[in-house]
Symmetry: C2
Subunit: 461 residues, 2 copies
């Protein structure tokens, strides 16, 4: 068991103490739940930080371990530590609930007179449900929790049982079922607003997608977790990209909650819901990132990728901004599309596609797939690869006969290394994350300023 | 991978087909959700049956395996198969939701006119939550699901990481947090009805237990899973006792739903909720029991015990009949109290307390704890043991000096063998289950007939 250093113990204690004070104060004063959420996220950070450190050996002992191939002397480090994140996160969300609803409870109970008391007595004797509270918000939390707990179970199973890729791919859809059931029962709204230029073809402002809408939501739930899982292979990149996305969504949420826009904004509740789910996520992820950043002390496992992706799917779907959500996944979408030729075996795909570590320079270089003499590429595929090479979207090697003998692997990380030349692992991670943040900010800008061209109104105003 | 026999395949296909037909019919006719629940439970049975058979080898490969010590030639069989149960169960509950609420949805949408449509359009554009449905029941399902998913996660962790007893004991309390949070936010009722003879002391019909009530609920959540985990060690006993309890609770639920009593009974909703959660539980458990019954092909693991106990805690607490629930746990409560001297180390406790297998006779005999010469029992403890021996609540061996040198282990299974003599493993399991069923039925009879003496009314009428 690795101990915390004295500085770490001191900082974490101070942080937890401050957060606890905020919590106690929020409870006493029936204050803004947002402060409670921030405080709980801080405690979640401290708790995850300690647990990741303390439980590493237990994970290794039970076989959850791996070697980091991009290091000179790879040692065994714990794998699947995202599980710790997910558990602390679930605990944080549950403990936040009383704070989220404290005000409503106070409001209701303070208005209760003697008559209610008598009614209450009757109800207790007869065992009837006693609803004193508007439950519409609560159900969303319950099913969000259920969905995230489910994806955690499936993540553990994946990390434990080494599932096949084609089985893994659909795992998140199962976990998303509680959320889809809630959507079906509660909202049941499968209409979408049609962009203005298309309205004359569709014949109205709204189009009912019916069952297609559920397929769309299932697709989101499958896509978000898997695309984070695919953009991986460098220390800190899984957690880092998740934190960037979470921050971008949170920024978008804040845009709806600013005092400068007309309040209460009709979408304010959805965006508060999103924020309350994202803050603790950011808290636990930062603690994991500290241990997963170059040089990594722990791996995060598929558990983390599924869990993180599902957090985004949940807030996007239950918060009704799944299309905006996709704007923040542009690098992941690019990576997925770019990977497709290898994922779908049009171009041979080696078992590992992470960048190649050059032990001499200590830098990462693009990894390659080579095509054996006996099994050459189909000529048409070869020509396309050469074209992509000219467009600087690949780097291929050509033999004297003009045949493609090898190509860099089809991932955004390798492509970045093609463009930028060999980089140290942490440098590569930082550059990708910065690129991702810039693309995301642009996406949000497009969403809120250009939306006016396609729709008749931006819903922020 | 063990294949299903031809008969099994045939029966399961017929069963699934019939259940599917019922489901389709229930959906088309907006029929009674109870039929849908039964049909889904049937499909859950078939699904669990197949999955337990098919995934056994995978579990063994990943190290979830054990040897059955009560067999002549113990071979390695899969452990922790309760996980399969839990997963299928969660899937079944989610898929039941649309059926549970179909009627309400139809009712609401059929009443919606053009005005609503316009309102809807506005709401979609502004991204507001669109609640078309009374959510008070839905939240209970969401949090019940969350609680059961959580206990499944913790069960897997327990089975994977071999936790210490004193840590394990409190695991269920964590899993119960979502349920307690729901109770806090939604009901918040911490009053209990005071039995009539005590009312003059307390000064009213109701007493507010406040925080104590949450402790009480946490205690229920800790107790139910653990006491099933403790009454274990014989093929089929964990699953068998859970099925008996589930059937008894379901019987109690039906008492509130009979057409002979005034309908709609105020508690009918709670008891329907309970029934909807219990039926699929019975379905998946029966499939597991088939494989776990003597001679066991699989072990169920702590996952199953926690999961089963938590199902009972959830229906008892969210259905508001936690006190009645305890009446159905009398054998488990007895076993827990009876075990206490060993659990709390007043009497030395060997690592395993399951009955001893006599390979010559093929029968089970009471297992014993022996006390070494160097570490004798304290004299007072010895005297108490001798007294219990006289009361036929133990069997002890005494040396010529009158010192107790060994005692049968303090579990109800060993006690039963003291009373009944050596028994074959399945015979012991059957006798215990029959005893449990009789005690449970008596408990229910007391609950509904004698309640009138203590309270002013039985809430069934």
């Amino acid at each position: 068991m690795q101990e915390l250093s004295r500085t770490e113990t001191y900082s974490l204690t101070v942080l937890s103490g401050a957060c606890l004070a905020v919590l106690v104060n929020a409870w006493k004063s029936d204050g803004e739940p947002l402060f409670a959420s921030i405080a709980i996220s801080g405690i979640g950070f401290a708790f995850t930080y300690c647990l990741v450190r303390w439980t590493g050996d237990v994970f290794i002992k039970r076989g959850y371990k791996g070697r980091d191939l991009s290091k000179k002397n790879p040692v065994e480090i714990p794998e699947a530590m995202g599980l710790v994140c997910a558990l602390v996160y679930l605990l944080a969300v549950v403990n936040f609930l009383p704070f989220a609803f404290k005000r409503d409870i106070v409001e209701i109970t303070s208005g209760a007179g003697n008559k209610d008391r008598v009614l209450e007595a009757q109800h207790i004797e007869t065992g009837r449900f006693l609803h004193r509270f508007p439950l519409e918000k609560l159900a969303s939390y319950g099913f969000a929790y259920g969905t995230l707990a489910s994806v955690t179970i499936l993540g553990i199973l994946d990390d434990s049982f080494d599932m096949r890729w084609r089985h893994k791919f659909f795992i998140p859809a199962f976990a998303a079922l509680p959320m889809l059931a809630l959507y079906f029962v509660d909202f049941g709204v499968t209409h979408v607003v049609v962009p203005a230029p298309l309205r004359k073809y569709v014949g109205g402002e709204l189009i009912d997608l019916g069952g297609l809408y559920y397929l769309y939501m299932a697709a989101i739930s499958i896509f978000c977790p898997n695309c984070i899982n695919i953009l991986a292979g460098v220390n800190g990149i899984e957690v880092g990209q998740s934190i960037v996305i979470a921050l971008l969504i949170a920024l978008n949420d804040v845009l709806y909650l600013l005092p400068t826009i007309h309040q209460p904004h009709p979408a304010a509740d959805s965006h508060l819901f999103s924020l309350y789910l994202l803050l603790p996520f950011i808290g636990v992820s930062l603690a994991l990132l500290k241990h997963n950043w170059f040089p990594a002390k722990v791996f995060v496992g598929d558990t983390y990728c599924y869990f993180a992706g599902m957090v985004f799917a949940v807030v996007g779907i239950l918060g009704h901004f799944s299309k905006t959500l996709l704007l923040l996944f542009i690098p992941q979408i690019f990576n997925f599309v770019y990977s497709a030729p290898q994922l779908f075996a049009i171009v041979p795909c080696p078992r590992h596609r992470l960048p190649r570590f050059n032990a001499r320079t200590g830098l990462l270089e693009p990894s390659v797939a080579t095509f054996a003499q006996e099994k050459p590429l189909r000529p048409i595929v070869g020509e396309v690869l050469k074209l992509l090479h000219k467009m600087k979207l690949l780097r291929v090697q050509v033999d004297p006969n003009g045949r493609v003998t090898e190509t860099t692997n089809f991932t955004i990380l390798n492509l970045w290394l093609v463009w930028r030349g060999p980089l140290r692992e942490d440098r590569l991670a930082v550059e990708i994350l910065v690129m991702q943040a810039i693309v995301g900010l642009l996406g949000l800008w497009v969403r809120h300023s250009l939306a006016l061209l396609l729709f008749t109104a931006d819903n922020r105003f």
